[in-house]
């Protein structure tokens, strides 16, 4: 018996339908066969992970119903078995999985709802950053300034969707007065998910021009635009946007183009 081989057979059996190799290591008896005994573990692992996904994606779960959710999770778990020791880090592929999951094509917004739930989950776990001295920006030569890139804080996420996912999410919260059946699903939204010292917030950013521009500005930063790019795109609005970004602490720091921290 080689332990590494045995563990390989078990892992394969846990996360695929193929459990013959795993079962070959196990004693069958009059009560349960080797395959059934292996199945106890497989069922337990899938149960633990399904429960964890249900806690991270409660709105998705309630949108499709518990039974459907559990079956879907079984498929997800086989396709994306956990590679992290922390439950908090499991589920980052869930939205992607949902977007190509054929049986749910009649609710096309579900993968965006999953992105929103994942963003909330991630932000909740992140550390608030230390303050940064932006005075250094002024000390850079003008030619260097154009090349710098801003870094956004980890305690904030930007999400854009073609669906009214913020209301779908709120409609599933306790004591919500938003009725799911009254939501105009096909309304595009720009959202900012963040946390203050106490709780998570979802801010709607497209309802006025200024917020919308600020969201676009942060989004451009998240996509790697340099200060030079931002100047071209946002023109005379740049100083105000930059000021707002730094004041809100959503812009956390900056790096020079070559990605060495200043």
């Amino acid at each position: 018996m080689n332990l590494a081989e045995l563990q390989k057979d078990f892992i394969e059996g846990f996360f695929t339908g193929e459990d013959a190799n795993a079962s070959s290591h196990i004693i069958s008896d009059e009560i349960l066969t080797a395959k059934q005994r292996f199945g106890i573990y497989k069922g337990s692992i899938h149960g633990i992970l399904t429960q964890a996904l249900g806690l991270t994606f409660p709105v998705c779960k309630s949108l499709v119903g518990e039974k459907f959710f559990d079956k879907m999770c079984d498929l997800f778990i086989d396709q994306y078995p956990p590679t992290t020791s922390f439950f908090a880090e499991y589920g980052n592929h869930f939205a992607k999985f949902l977007s190509s999951f054929k049986p749910l094509q009649h609710i096309p917004y579900i993968s965006d709802v999953a992105r929103l739930e994942w963003a909330r989950h991630e932000v909740w776990h992140k550390v608030r950053n230390q303050s940064f001295d932006f005075g250094q920006l002024a000390e850079l030569a003008e030619s260097d300034q154009a090349n710098i890139k801003f870094i956004l804080t980890d305690t904030m996420r930007l999400i854009q969707s073609n669906y009214r996912i913020d209301e779908i999410w709120f409609a599933h919260q306790q004591d919500s007065d938003i009725k799911l059946e009254l939501i105009e699903f096909d309304t595009a939204v720009k959202l900012l998910i963040w946390k203050d010292s106490k709780e998570l917030k979802i801010s709607l950013m497209h309802t006025n021009k200024q917020d919308s521009l600020f969201w676009d500005f942060l989004f451009a930063i998240s996509k790697g635009s340099s200060l030079g790019d931002l100047a071209i795109r946002f023109g005379e609005n740049l100083p105000d946007l930059l000021n707002q970004g730094i004041k809100s602490t959503w812009i956390q720091s900056f790096v020079k183009e070559n990605l060495i921290e200043v």
Partner: protein, 278 residues
């Protein structure tokens, strides 16, 4: 954040700390001698849970209990995990750090469940080496727990109790004796729970676990979802006779009842423990 806690001694009957009870514990500050925390849930810095733990630690001693060590895995030890554990240990100063005698991850995949091992000399050696590495890294003895199991390997060469004894002796670690797990495995594999219990190295037992299982007809499943059952209480009395008055902990992880209910279970353990003359 480093505080020098004046107390980290653990004694009497504690309970496992669960998220569901955070608020009640804050509000009631119940008379519980200590809490065992599921350390893996607190290893990410800057989280609300971590802050809660810092707060809790001002009022109670704690022990750490993990599943992420995967001491029986053939993958290299997860040093990122161990570094985080060491840092948290430094900050919170638990009475000890425990994990399970099993594997939870292999070939880069983490099952988050406790998978048993074949009981062979080679596996003993493999585990002893790894426990020594972990103890060297953490700078202290660790405590390992016997797990429940639902299968037996063809390649097994020795009894589970011999396997445990060899590992503890050779690696110089301590034992977290889960009495419920002994009972569950004894029923599932038709061996004598008392033979197992009395073969355990009494002087190495740091802590006893108690929990409730579910009877699935063909096997007992260690669900931690019920009160402790009468045969496990009986075995617990024998365990006290064997190992003495070591700290005892109630684990309740599924269908979690009120904080009062879990404390009631701990108080029952306490009164049984006090009634046993050792």
């Amino acid at each position: 954040m480093i505080t020098n806690y004046s107390f980290n001694k653990v004694q009497g009957c504690g309970i496992g700390l669960r998220l569901e009870h955070f608020e009640d514990i804050n509000a009631q500050q119940p008379k519980i001698p200590w809490f065992e925390i599921l350390s893996d849930n607190y290893l990410i810095e800057g989280t609300a849970q971590r802050n809660y733990l810092y707060q809790l630690r001002n009022n109670y001693p704690v022990t750490f209990h993990g599943v992420g060590l995967s001491i029986g895995s053939t993958d290299p030890l997860n040093m990122d995990y161990l570094k985080r554990l060491k840092k948290l240990k430094h900050e919170v100063q638990p009475a000890w750090v425990s994990d399970h005698l099993c594997w939870t991850s292999a070939h880069g995949i983490v099952t988050h469940d406790l998978i048993p091992l074949p009981y062979t000399e080679t596996v003993v050696k493999h585990i002893v080496d790894r426990i020594k590495q972990v103890q060297d890294f953490l700078g202290e003895q660790i405590v390992i727990e016997n797990v429940s199991s639902y299968l037996q390997f063809k390649s097994t060469e020795m009894s589970e109790w011999n396997f445990i004894n060899e590992i503890i002796r050779q690696s110089d670690c301590r034992l977290l004796l889960d009495v419920n797990n002994i009972y569950v495995s004894a029923q599932n594999h038709k061996f004598d729970a008392e033979e197992y219990l009395f073969a355990m190295p009494a002087e190495r037992v740091a802590e006893i676990h108690l929990a409730g299982y579910e009877d699935r007809g063909t096997h007992l499943l260690d669900t931690h979802s019920r009160p402790v059952t009468p045969p496990v209480w009986d075995l617990f009395k024998k365990a006290i006779q064997h190992v003495g008055h070591v700290p005892v902990l109630i684990e309740w992880d599924n269908d979690i009842p009120s904080l009062e209910r879990v404390i009631k279970e701990a108080n029952k353990a306490k009164s049984i423990q006090q009634g046993v003359i050792v």
